[in-house]
């Protein structure tokens, strides 16, 4: 039951994010290159989240556990890597912007970089560790 609730909540969150992006794209008019890169990363995150939800639903349908000790350990590890990425991404982002663009990032840009980079690191490490085994 707990697993099913988790899947339903995950699905709802994914649908809400997709709707938000759809509304944003429809009202944005022309989308700049930096925005399209951000959108691409968000779409990758949505696809990865959908895959994780589908994988769990598939296991429940087969009568197997959706989440076991290996996946819980993987979650912790990926969360740790995501946390480290969240700590360093503002610093690295600001540094790169300073060198390439020659300007400082605004607060909202730094927040966006932190959220997107840590999310991406979490998802990539989760999928990698899930394939590797540990």
């Amino acid at each position: 039951m707990k697993d099913k609730i988790g899947i339903i909540l995950g699905l709802l969150a994914t649908i809400l994010v997709i709707l938000t992006i759809a509304v944003y794209i429809m009202n944005a008019g022309t989308i700049e290159l930096t925005e399209s890169a951000t959108l691409a990363i968000v779409i990758i995150l949505i696809l990865a989240a959908s895959y994780i939800i589908w994988d769990r639903a598939k296991n429940i349908r087969k009568g197997l556990s959706a989440k076991d000790e290996r996946l819980i350990n993987i979650n912790y590890k990926a969360g740790y890597y995501g946390f480290i990425a969240a700590l360093f991404s503002p610093l690295v982002g600001q540094f790169i912007a300073d060198i390439i663009l020659g300007r400082e990032l605004t607060g909202s840009q730094v927040t966006a970089i932190t959220v997107i980079v840590s999310g991406l690191v979490f998802v990539v490490s989760y999928l990698y560790l899930a394939r590797k085994g540990n």
Binding site: N59, S65, A66, D68, R70, G133
Partner: protein
């Protein structure tokens, strides 16, 4: 760490999925334990040994 899980599983005609259902884990977890890619916790090792009617000592071969 090596394991005799595959051999013991075959003895009882269990597929990876059967064993996974029996002990409440995902099939991939059984696969990774058999391949030696994942070291299970003592509780999971105990559950697997119980399901295969053996002991942890017989199931897992610890190497120095």
């Amino acid at each position: 760490m090596k394991t005799r899980m595959k051999e013991l599983r075959a003895r009882y005609n269990f597929t990876q999925e059967d064993l996974a259902k029996k002990i409440g884990v995902r099939r991939e977890t059984i696969l990774f334990i058999e391949k030696g890619a994942y070291n299970p916790s003592i509780k999971l090792a105990h559950d697997i040994a119980k399901a295969l009617q053996t002991t942890i000592d017989e199931l897992f071969i610890f190497e120095d």
